[in-house]
Structures are given as structure tokens and as C-alpha cells.
């Protein structure tokens, strides 16, 4: 693909992947309304800056990266600053220590986990989304799993 993306191509990603974007945003922001707002803002931002897309990776990866930035902006704007709280799924007693352990992960590790497991992205797309090298993704995911295993000895990879 050449320089720039069309609104139609962005819409195609939106229509095919909306549930995945929403799920990652819910995980990243811990709030349903903020997550919905973040996804809308992500695609609006993608449209506004569509001519900045240079076709160096996949369009979807570029939009994932936008979502990561929008979520980061949202967290910065939300005061008072709080640790990211993962949604409770309506069962507060379920996995409280696991939820705390995931929330305590460094941001990049947490996002890599979410993108891998909730969006089913491959390492290449995660690398684009997080703005890191492909090899860094593998190391980041490994570190996240290790961290969870150390915190929660019963977790297996």
C-alpha cells in the first residue's frame, strides 16, 4: 500500500475488528464507557491522520498503535491518578489476586498481553502497535508471563 489510507479501509478494520478493539480498551482502561469512547476516538484519530500512514506495516497494526496512544492519553487525563483497574466481570470474588497481579505489570507488558490474548495479534502487529522491535515483543511477553508466574506460583505458561 502506498502513502496514506482511505477512510473506506479504516472503516473496514472498524467493522471487522470492533469487538477486539473494544475488548483491549476495556482491559487497558478498566471502564466500559471510557473504553467505548477510546475506540471511537481511535478511529476518528486514524481518519484525521490517515495521510500519515506510510504503509510500512499493516493498516490494522497502525490503528492498534493509535488505540494504545489514545488509552495512554485517557489515563493521563483521568485524575486522580490511579492504578489501572481491570474490569471485574461482575464477579468481584473471581481471581482477585490474578487481577491485581495483571494490573501491577509494567504498562508495556500488560498491553502486550492484552494485544496478544484479546486481539489475537501476531508479534509483528504487536510490535507495530507498541512501537517496538519484533524481538522486543517476544521478550516483553516472556517477562509478563514470568512476572505472573513469580507472583502467582500456580500460573502456568
Amino acid at each position: 500500500m502506498g502513502s496514506g489510507a482511505t477512510i473506506g479501509a479504516i472503516e473496514d478494520v472498524y467493522r471487522r475488528r470492533y469487538p477486539r478493539f473494544l475488548r483491549v480498551a476495556r482491559a487497558a482502561l478498566g471502564d466500559e464507557d471510557r473504553a467505548r469512547d477510546a475506540v471511537q476516538e481511535t478511529f476518528a484519530r486514524a481518519i484525521r491522520s490517515r495521510f500519515d500512514f506510510r504503509g510500512e506495516g499493516s493498516l490494522e497494526g497502525w490503528i492498534w498503535r493509535t488505540l494504545v496512544n489514545v488509552c495512554a492519553d485517557d489515563r493521563r487525563a483521568a485524575l486522580p491518578q490511579t492504578e489501572t483497574e481491570l474490569p471485574s466481570n461482575g464477579h468481584p470474588a473471581e481471581w482477585p489476586e490474578v487481577r491485581a497481579a495483571v494490573a501491577a505489570l509494567p504498562e508495556r507488558q500488560r498491553l502486550a498481553l492484552f494485544l496478544r490474548h484479546y486481539a489475537d495479534l501476531d508479534y509483528e502487529a504487536i510490535a507495530t502497535a507498541l512501537g517496538v522491535q519484533r524481538g522486543t515483543v517476544a521478550a516483553t511477553l516472556h517477562a509478563a508471563h514470568e512476572s505472573l508466574r513469580r507472583t502467582l506460583p500456580e500460573v502456568q505458561q
Binding site: 482511505t6 477512510i7 473506506g8 479501509a9 472503516e11 473496514d12 472498524y14 467493522r15 470492533y18 469487538p19 473494544l22 475488548r23 476495556r26 482491559a27 464507557d33 471510557r34 467505548r36 469512547d37 475506540v39 471511537q40 476516538e41 478511529f43 476518528a44 484519530r45 481518519i47 484525521r48 492519553d73 493521563r76 487525563a77 483521568a78 485524575l79 486522580p80 481491570l86 474490569p87 466481570n89 473471581e94 481471581w95 490474578v98 487481577r99 495483571v102 498481553l113 492484552f114 490474548h117 484479546y118 508471563h145 505472573l148 502467582l152 500456580e154 500460573v155 502456568q156 505458561q157
Partner: protein
Amino acid sequence: MIDVQQVLESLVPERGAEFGDWDEVLARAGVGRAEPAAPPKAPRRGVIAALVVVAAIAVPALVAAVLSRTNVIFSDSKPAPNVVKKQFADLGFGSPPRFALGVQAAKAREVGTFTIHGRRRSVWVAPTSHGGFCTLFEAGFGGCAARASDRHILNVNYEEGSPRGTWVSAVGGWVITRAARARLELAYADGSSDELPYIHVSPPIAAGFFWFDVPKGHSDKRSRAVALYVKDGTGRTLATQRFAYEPRRPIHVGPMPKAPAYVPRALPARSDVPPSAPIQRGIGDGVSLTAGANGVVLFDTTRIDADAAALLGSSVGYSCFKLVHEFGIFDARGLGFGGRLAPTVALRIFGLPHPWDGCEIQGSYGHLWPDRNGSHSPVEIALTDKGRRYFADRAAARDLALFVRTAKMQRIRKLTGSALVRGLAPYPIVRLASSDASPPLGKIGYAPSADGVTFVERSPTGRRFVVEVRSRRIVRKNLEPYAFVF
């Protein structure tokens, strides 16, 4: 053993198919449906009927949302003019540090226009360094949600349409909600309502702004505005502002009671906190001054000149100022306190960045032309050369302003020809050969023209102040910020 995948599935479980709201994305992005979308996949036959039903319900709601909300990208908006940026810079001036608004005036932008008091006018917005914003409605009001913690859903200012406050004639303010289809609804006592348009501005502002001139048909008790609601796309109320019409007692006009004698308050003689380095010192008209970088300033009037003390009387104003050039506009930013003249006074002035250019003590007497002290304040203490020039320029500008705006001169300056010359004859001013000429120092000059007159005065610094009257109106003046004419 627990599997990571299992853990994550449990934390944020997958939901059924969701479609989002693409039209709302387009509205946010500020684009219409100009470019064709990618070819849609053929829907399964079973869901076609359901989609048709959803569309029938969703389309009217979408149209309403799009009509009432205009999305604006802050960074793409037109920068505010310098005079407006200066107004933003002046907001919150003088606040103690912990209350400082942190307005980023240089980033102010015009985000849209509204009909305000019957005319199309602008609304400007500037972000703050605390994650909030300030706004100015042209010919309306201004306000701030300077901190993220100030970001309440609805902030409303309103104007009353009558002196008795019997109806609301205009509402304006801002709305902050994440609900993409939020609506503003102004409800009237007769059960009707208006949906108010608003301009939603993208981050870092992330707020919607509105102004609405209430139609005159809603000016009586039975039909006046009673509440403003913020509602989400489902009609759920997110915030409410009600308009309370408290009965007001009519103002009784009778003989004025004799006012008690005014006693100026005593100001502190000493400060618990000493002036901090670097310290500025100055002396003027027998008053010595010490000003610290922490805003603590000490006035010592024990050796004040007798003439200055006589002019001042007992009720005075102590103030200090800094000369600034902001956005190409020159201004003297000053702050001070009023109180009783005392041998020593210690004040703390917040929000006036050091170094200062001067301080002064002003009396509470009225200023007539010619002024008793040559249009200077009784006590002027320059702390810099700029401050010294400012005092000289201000005296010349004030002298000219006081002359031009006297009640008699308001009439005379509207004359022309020989009537004008006759009207000005009794005054100790000099006639100039042309409006470009300058009078001697300390004198006001005037140059008649076919349809008016130009008044001129010079300052010892070389500055030349002018007030030009044509066809009975002031068409040119350069006295601000030193003085004002009208």
C-alpha cells in the same frame, strides 16, 4: 495450575458481536460520508430483517446527534487573535501559586461561533497546564475548568432577561461527557423544549461549548426556561441545571441614609516573612521601598515628602507593577491593597513575577484637569529605568486624557471651525500648525481640521500621545494602557 489464557479470558470475557457506531466516528473526525467504504460483506439472510429494524430506529437518533453536536479538532482550529490571547493571559492574574490557573494563552484557538445577543460571535478556548481549559465567549462571559478535577459534566452561566429576574434570556457554558451522543435540552415551563447545539472540541480540551439566546416567546412565567439537561443517547439524564426564580422585593427608593464615616483599614506594619533575595530597593517622594522575590514588599513612609503626604490624606492605595509585552500588547500589570497611610506597611503580593518595575501610593481624591500633581501619583517609586519612563509617559497620557474627557470638553470637542477655536480659547493649551506637530513639554496642543480636532501631548521620554476627533467621534487614540478616553 492456572493457564494465563484462562486467567485473561476470565478478566475481560469476550462478548457477542458488537458493531460500534461508525457514523459517530465520522462525526468526531469532522468528515462526512465522502469516500466510499470498503465493499461490505453480504449479511447473512437471517439478520437482514433485524438490521432494517435497527436502522429504522437508529437513523433518526443519529441525525439528531449530528445536528446538535459539531465536532471540532482543537489543533486544526484557527489561532485566537493576540488581543484574545492577552485576555487569556490576564485570567487568574494575581492568584496565589496554588490557585494559579495555568492558562496556556499562546495556545488559545477559536473553536466556533454562536449567535450571542443576536449577533454571530466567537468562542475561544485555551488549555491549561493542569489538564483543564479556559474559555471566552465574545461579548459573553468567560470561565475555566482549570484542573481535571474541575471537569464537571455541566457548567452553566445564564443571563436574566429583566431586572426582576423573571426569565432566563441566554444560557451558555460547557458540557463534559464521554457519552458520544450527549444532547443538551432546555426545558420550558409550558412543557416544550429546545435542543441546544454545541461544539465539541477534541483533546486536550475534550469538552463541548454552547450558547443559546432564549427566544423572546419564552419570557413569561408560563413559558420561561426552567431547566437545562444533559442527556445521553438513550435519553438518560446525566446532569441538570435548574433555574430558580426567587421572588425579589421591589427596590424601595427613599431618602438616602447618611453613610457612616469611612475609616480606612489598617494594613500590617510588618511581615512574618522577610523579603527574599534578590531584593529590589527604591525611593521616591521620600518613601523608601524594599521588595523581595517572594512578593513581600515593605513601604517606609516615615520620611515622606510633606506635599505628597498632604495630597494623600489618610485613605490610600499601595500597589506595585510589572511592565509586560504579551502577544505584541504592552501592559502594566499591577496589584495592590487599599488602607490607611501608616509609617510602615508590609504587604505580600502574589502573582506578580519579579523583578518589578515600580510601586506607588495613590490617594483617594478625585482627579480633575489640571491635576494637582501634574497627573503623577503622590508617591511614585521606580525600580527600573522602564518603570521611570512609564511614570513619565503615564503622567503625559493621563494629562491629555483628563483634559479631553472633562464634561466641558466633551461638548467643545464636537465643534468645528471658529466655534471650536472659541471654545478652546480659555484653556492654557497651544494651537499647532498641523496634527503632526508637537507642543512644548508639559503643554497640550491642538490642531483643528475640517471636521474635528487633534489633541497632542508629549512625554519627556519622547513619546507622543494623540486623541483625534472627527465628525464628533474619537477616531484615533494611543493612550492605553496609561489612560483612557471616552
